[in-house]
Symmetry: C2
DNA sequence: GTCAGTGCAAAGCTTTTGCAGCGCG
DNA sequence: CGCGCTGCAAAAGCTTTGCACTGAC
């Protein structure tokens, strides 16, 4: 059991490291190809999202970058996110209701979300059998589906009282 | 083919009629049991949602009620929706990003949503096999899942150019 | 008659837009 | 060295709150 946890942990670190480099570079290259320059604000947002495992709100991104010493404006965060979303590099998710969440689009790390009904915490989960069922359902509805989102709501481990 | 459409249509009408009465009365009774009175605004929102097949925004509900002659305030719409959501009678959905959508919770009409990436139109769909897969995935994640939401995004029939 | 419910108006939030100046290429 | 990007501030929504008054029970 401990071995399995340890292995999962190591794999997580490796995968995160690989993906951080890959997605960040992909995003920077993709925007440059589109004729965009790399200002300090946009680059900072891209690097943060590349290092971030799961979704974050615009406010969280802004706060984190300012804590890191950058004098970035919230408007630049929103503009960077808008551009990245239009380029298909970032996905906007509305789970919390009042604020939008953003996360990088990375096919190798496709996942969905668990939202705690008590504390609001968001966790990612991967389930290949659910993906398969989604693909089948998508072909059944007859539309050309480009994307899908699944949110499961319930009490998280910390909030549940057994 | 025509027969099938006709049958589906008839069933839809019947089901909608049955559910309108049922959900509306359930909601009114439920709130009364909770010690709430039935003011004109709250009753109007409940009756509209009971008659509504799928989700609507607070603004749409407000506009529709005012078009119908009621002098209801937008604040009362939000307050009614908040109360209904807390009672588990209404579900708040964030699909459009900028505005929240609300729809009645009716186990007999459980469904998910298709959102057009072009025009933003929302359509409901029912897929029992997907529901089954979701239930299995929910048991796999280990949480006590209370609710789930699925959104499929793609071009709707009107916006798709074959 | 009491007090929950209501409409209006003002405030609070998140997000967008305007604008002058900086700095990437 | 031009024009795209940026930070700040103001504006623009959506949603919530304050308040006096109405009407349900």
């Amino acid at each position: 059991m401990r071995m399995r946890i340890s292995l999962t942990f190591t794999m997580g670190i490796l995968r995160a490291k690989v993906c951080r480099v890959t997605w960040t570079e992909t995003a920077l290259d993709s925007l440059r190809s589109g004729g965009h320059r790399h200002g300090s604000a946009r680059r900072a947002v891209i690097e943060l999202l590349g290092a971030e495992a799961c979704c974050a709100s615009a406010q969280e991104i802004h706060d984190r970058l300012r804590s890191g010493g950058a004098s970035i404006g919230i408007a630049s965060v929103y503009r960077a996110l808008e551009l990245l979303e239009a380029a298909g590099l970032v996905q906007r998710l509305d789970m919390a209701g009042d604020v939008a969440m953003y996360e990088r689009v990375d096919p190798s790390q496709h996942h969905h979300h668990l939202v705690c009904t008590d504390c609001g915490r968001v966790e990612a989960f991967v389930d290949e059998r659910l993906e398969s069922a989604l693909r089948k359902a998508e072909s059944r509805v007859g539309f050309d589906i480009e994307a899908h989102e699944v949110v499961l709501r319930g009490a998280c481990d910390d909030c549940r009282i057994d």
